[in-house]
Amino acid sequence: MKLPVLGQNAAQAALFLLLLLALPYTLPNEYYLSICILGALNAVIAVGLNLLMGYAGQVSLGHAAFYGLGAYATAIATSRFGLPIPAGMAIGVSLATVVAWIVAAPTLKLKGHYLAMATLGFGIIVSIVFNEAVDATGGPSGYVGIPRLALFGYEFTSDHSYYNLMAVVLTFVVLLSLNLMKSRTGRALRALHVSEKAAASLGVDIAAHKRFVFVLSAALAGLAGVLYAHYLSFIAPASFGFGFSVQLVVMVVLGGMASVWGSVAGALFLTALPEALREFEDIDILVYGAILVLTIMFLPDGLAGGLSRLTRRLRRKAGAS
């Protein structure tokens, strides 16, 4: 008998959480842990962006902006205005959400390359403001002195405690996405990806669904931004520019479109890759570019697609013998 849909996902998510929590005990030192934290942060954004890109079929080349809005809002609220950290976090996520809600309506009317250009333009404008509004953001040299995360009297001083928090957050986001995509809303999103006209004729409110998924993915990026700011205690505009927006899209595509687990894999892979290439020193950027090109050439459906093809082939071989 098949388990009910939600129960199925909960079991997967619980297993995922256990794996994540066990991971630090296999790592040789603290340095790897910090990469894992950044990987988990990126995974939260990539899973959110995948809801928009992979499922609903809307490209965003400006998601780094929402990440940055969350980070700067909580940084300014907590360190300049002295607000408590939970309030700062709430402000950060709300700001990303509200801005996304405002830009969604005119932007999501556009299609294809025009949509890509509009989101790209939005992202660039926001990152220029981070750079130029020196009084508020500290400008290009960055914003220092953001308090380390403390919630309900517990201070996340060690990297390990912060990692555990990220594991829980990421699992929660993954579970949310898995369930959303099996819900009525998720089916509507997938339908509008295939054909907006057909979806509309079946009674899907296209504009409302697009706006919902855009705002949700921006809120997740804002959440990651908030957690990033309180983890590093330092933020600079360079982390929230066009380059990072592109990297997020690459994570989603490389992981495999319309696959929640693929986005997690893509995010972890692309976060770890530059670190793994450190030993190549000067030519690391060439190796990075080459891996990117070759992966897309040989794994056109991403890591998730490649894996499922491999297992299918193995299963067929096992069946034949």
Partner: protein
Amino acid sequence: MFAGAPQYLVSGLTQGAAYGLIGLGFTMIFNTTGIINFAQGEFVMLGGMLSVCLLGVGLPLPLAIVLACLATAAIGGLMERLAIRPIAGAPAINAVIITIGVSILLRGGAMLAFGKDTHALPAFSGTAPILALGAAIQPQSLWVLAVTLALLAALKLFFTATIQGKAMLACSCQKKAASLVGISVARMALLSFAISGLIGATAGAILAPITMTAYDVGMMLGLKGFAACILGGLGNPFGAAAGGLVLGVLESFGAGYIASGYKDAFAFVVLLLLLFVRPSGLFGKAGVERV
């Protein structure tokens, strides 16, 4: 109030002409392959950096520039052959990511080969400014405008008077129909990448005496070029050139009258506003669907 206006107009047109050329490169590739080539800015960088490098080994300036442009055209062709053709039939987003990967490769290669320093080419015909209508015009600005116009005229000729050009237009119109009448769509894609490399590199070489060049200038220039061709209406080469001019002038006036730090933002703000009211661009066909 209008004191600086002629000066801003001249520098805006100069910069805008370069954006237009870059946008033209995007259009060439988009029309034949449907791909937005994110390595377009890297072609521009290569045009400038290779010229600087060839000049450095002792070649005369005109020869250095011509060789740099031809080399970039060859790199464009190679890119199509090695990275784009093998994934024919894959979703467009995959092709875009490949072009992003190639742009990273080209940028990294340029950094290794030429170093991280900023370079400038000497101006083609001196730097004594020409005074006209209250603006001091650099001779190089005239070079930029003249070369842009000459390239546009050459392209117009190419598309209307040569069989290759007409074949390319046919591809942009209907790929299937073009291949049915015996046009090799693959060869047209190769040609479009090579011509894009040539146009991009030319823009890079004529701009290098004014704005300097370095291994990492490609990204912003590429983005502006993309903006120019969206502004003009994607797929329309002359729209891209016009879009570039509009973009350059807006940027120059914004930087002059409002705040120079936000120079790069003005172009994109205007672009967003335009897209919101007229989603097909200034000169695009009004066929873009709205929800």
